[in-house]
């Protein structure tokens, strides 16, 4: 009896395993098919103030697409916190959407999975050619050695938002252009419960963005030419220390910011608690927090000295959202048409205007809608002084490892523990050793 039971159980296990491994292989059609040409599933990232708002913004546009092509688009808006996991799950199971949004810093990491349709010349021609897109945006669509894994959809860059009233109260005439100026101005502002600059210290991605820019300004890249992690170079250590020192040594960032990770910075800014914030396209959120457009100004993110060299003048990462097609889609033609539609001049103008971002499509960018003072700064930054985050397969791990190290250093700073070159180097070295060896 017992033997029979064991045999039956193992037989069942084996057959189930066989079934599971067979379908877990993700061996669906390479390069897509046209098995269901009338429908598409689209995963949009949460861009607006809420998921509902996104649905409201996107639904009429998708209807337009349906009228043009007869293809019905099933929309799902996915919050940022879930997006990467959802994409990974879809990649593993092969049961993903047809078209999806990806954060552009993930491009190379996701490209390495081989799940996304490569945008070679042939594919680009179907949507009007590669030349329609701004170069820096294309630079954040995959590793430079291969065809982009996605097409840029919304572009953003960091800028320095400053609170005009708080600046006037402290007797400061204009926004700082260098970090030294920022610290000097910051010391005038940081008193009586008011602080100069905001930071989202517990948000690893946010930390990475700033540290990357400071790294560029110190001549460090965090990855060497072969794509190997290089987190402990003098420049990288200096960059991380400079960022954390804004709280630890210069005391222009409130210690409480060390636990911020939910965009509390913008609330503090709108409530006149913090005078400056480094942000990408903050206008809509500031309005939502009750701040009118004339209460704040926008300037480029500070650099190290008055006239830095070309590379060290970098003052933002190329931020943005890309549009990707899952390789195993059942509607490859429809997906391509959809990408063409979303990146068409008219849609680019509509969508980017609504979201407060900049179109990565050159023709749409020329529209006067993107010439407001705030957007002009961001546009100029994108055109002249923004650099894409390292487009290496390990980018996602880098964000977590170094971003978390900075989070821990902020926690030290907030608790009044010393943050020294040695302690920074140690944390970065630990982060580097956690990176996969290949």
């Amino acid at each position: 009896m017992r033997r029979t039971r064991a045999a039956a159980a193992s037989a069942v296990t084996v057959s189930l395993l066989a079934a599971v491994t067979a379908c877990g292989g993700g061996s669906s059609t390479e390069g897509g098919s046209n098995d269901s040409p009338k429908t598409l599933t689209y995963w949009a990232s949460n861009q607006g103030p809420s998921i509902e708002a996104d649905k409201k913004i996107l639904t009429p546009e998708l209807k337009k697409f349906e009228q043009e092509t007869g293809i019905k688009v099933k929309l799902e808006v996915i919050p940022w916190s879930d997006l990467l996991n959802r994409i990974l799950a879809a990649t593993t199971s092969g049961q993903g959407p047809d078209v999806l949004n990806i954060g552009n810093t993930w491009s190379a990491s996701l490209q390495a999975t081989g799940a996304l349709l490569p945008w070679d010349t042939k594919n680009f021609d179907k949507i009007g050619g590669k030349d329609r897109f701004v170069e820096s945006a294309l630079g954040s669509a995959g590793a430079s050695s291969s065809d982009p894994a996605a097409v840029p959809l919304y572009s953003m860059a960091y800028a320095l938002y400053y609170n005009k009233k708080m600046f006037a109260d402290a007797g400061i005439s204009g926004p700082p252009a260098t970090w030294d100026d920022l610290v000097a101005d910051g010391k005038k502002i940081s008193k009586d419960g008011k602080w100069a600059l905001a930071a989202e210290g517990s948000n690893p991605s946010e930390n990475i963005h700033h540290v990357f820019v400071l790294g560029k300004q110190h001549g460090a890249d965090f990855f060497d030419a072969d794509g190997k992690p290089d987190f402990t170079s003098d420049g990288a250590v200096a960059a991380v220390k400079q960022y954390v020192d804004l709280m630890a040594k210069d005391k222009v960032v409130a210690p409480g910011n060390a636990e911020y990770a939910q965009n509390q910075s913008l609330q503090d800014f709108a409530k006149d608690k913090t005078a400056m914030v480094l942000w990408q396209t903050a206008a809509t959120t500031l309005k939502a927090h009750g701040m009118s457009d004339d209460e704040w100004g926008v300037a480029p993110v500070p650099v190290q000295s008055g006239s830095p060299g070309a590379e060290t003048a970098v003052n933002s990462m190329v931020a943005g959202i890309n549009l990707a097609v899952f390789k195993n889609t059942d509607n490859i033609d429809g997906a391509t048409k959809f990408v063409k539609f979303m990146t068409s001049d008219a849609e680019q103008k509509t969508l980017n205007e609504t979201y407060g971002s900049i179109p990565p499509v050159k023709a749409a960018q020329e529209d006067p809608a993107f010439n407001t003072p705030a957007l002009k700064v961001i546009r100029d930054t994108l055109a002249k002084s923004a650099a894409p985050l390292p487009q290496v397969p390990n980018e996602s791990q880098f964000e977590t490892a170094v971003g978390t190290a900075v989070k821990e250093l902020f926690a030290d700073a907030a608790a009044g523990r010393p943050v020294t070159t040695a302690s920074v180097k140690e944390k970065l070295s630990e982060a580097q050793q956690q990176m996969p060896k290949k």
Partner: protein
């Protein structure tokens, strides 16, 4: 229970010189087979839901599974024991971090389970007496257990905030217990914050189970003890606790497993990157696999955790059931 009883019946049927006639035998076989047939759907589902992913997890732990292979993980190269040796190399950062996380989890589990049990038992014992408002209090005690975990923990996260949180407001502004507002969600205090939320969330379960256990103790035992002159503490020590032993065995085991594996509380409280002081093993493994995309190492860590929990549970069951088994025989 029926499953363990079954082979005895089957074995009993086999021997005997004057065996049953073939017809009776088929009837008996059918009768014996029926329960298994009825169990089959459940067994299949159980395999599908639990065993298969577990086996897959074990297979993954021997593979070099990074972003290059997740799409077709069957094709990932074999890594042998590399993932395991990486996880247990306590001199290197990955192993050292895992070991730290393991110690944090052990300390957290012992404290959390102990406090949950203590609070739950104390409350249940006091709730045995009938008094005005008992029903209301019982209901209030169960609220943390009834609330959705996510909502409850988010609320705690708000309360623990440095600048606007209720905890600092009370401790610092109102009671003046601290010189400056403390950080609860980052740094060393995060362990205390995690413990508070965990105990708050877990003790009502202990309360509920102990309360149910208390209903089974005959009242006349207490009456007899009282007549013999036993005080309340003596009654607790001599009657209540020994009678609750079987209930407590299950309760502590379940609380241990839940607490050791708790993922929701730290995740909602701290996000994807928990502070070092509160880096519970579940979230550590999550980060190792899903955030750094190192699924092979993450799987190896999960298997190690599974082995550890199996050993602990096994030893615990053997130790605690020894007395009962000898009593049964």
């Amino acid at each position: 229970m029926t499953v363990t009883a079954e082979p005895a019946v089957g074995e009993e049927a086999l021997p005997g010189a004057t065996g049953p006639t073939p017809r009776r035998r088929t009837g008996r076989v059918r009768r014996i087979a029926l329960p298994y047939l009825l169990l089959l759907p459940a067994l299949l589902l159980e395999l599908l839901v639990h065993l298969v992913p577990m086996v897959i997890g074990i297979v993954m732990s021997f593979k070099e599974l990074t972003q290059f292979y997740i799409r077709d993980w069957g094709a990932a190269p074999w890594a042998g024991f590399d993932n395991y040796s990486l996880s247990v190399d306590f001199d290197a950062p990955v192993g050292a971090a895992l070991l730290d996380s393991f110690f944090v989890t052990c300390a957290f589990t012992v404290l959390s389970v102990g406090l949950c049990w203590l609070l739950g038992t104390t409350a249940a014992v006091y709730m045995q007496e009938t008094f005005r408002g008992r029903g209301f209090l019982r209901a209030v005690f169960l609220i943390p257990y009834a609330l959705p975990v996510y909502a409850a923990v988010i609320t705690w996260a708000f309360m623990f905030q440095h600048d606007n949180g209720l905890v600092n407001h009370v401790l610092h502004d109102q009671l003046g217990l601290t010189d400056s507002p403390s950080f609860w969600l980052i740094g060393d205090n995060s362990f205390i914050a995690l413990l508070v939320v965990s105990v708050w969330k877990g003790w009502p379960f202990a309360f509920l189970i102990v309360m149910a256990g208390l209903q089974n103790i005959p009242r006349d035992l207490y009456e007899a003890a009282a007549i013999d002159g036993a005080g309340m503490l003596q009654q607790l020590r001599r009657i209540t606790l020994p009678s609750l032993r079987p209930v407590n065995q299950v309760l502590v085991l379940v609380l241990f497993l839940w607490t050791f594996n708790d993922f929701n509380t730290p995740y909602v409280l701290f996000g994807k990157a928990a502070p070092e002081a509160a880096d519970l093993i579940s979230i550590h493994i999550y980060q190792s696999s899903f955030v750094t995309w190192n699924f092979g190492t993450g799987s190896a860590m999960s298997v190690l955790l599974l082995l550890f929990l199996l050993v602990v549970t096994g030893v615990y069951l053997v130790l605690t059931s020894r007395g009962r088994r000898s009593a049964d025989v």
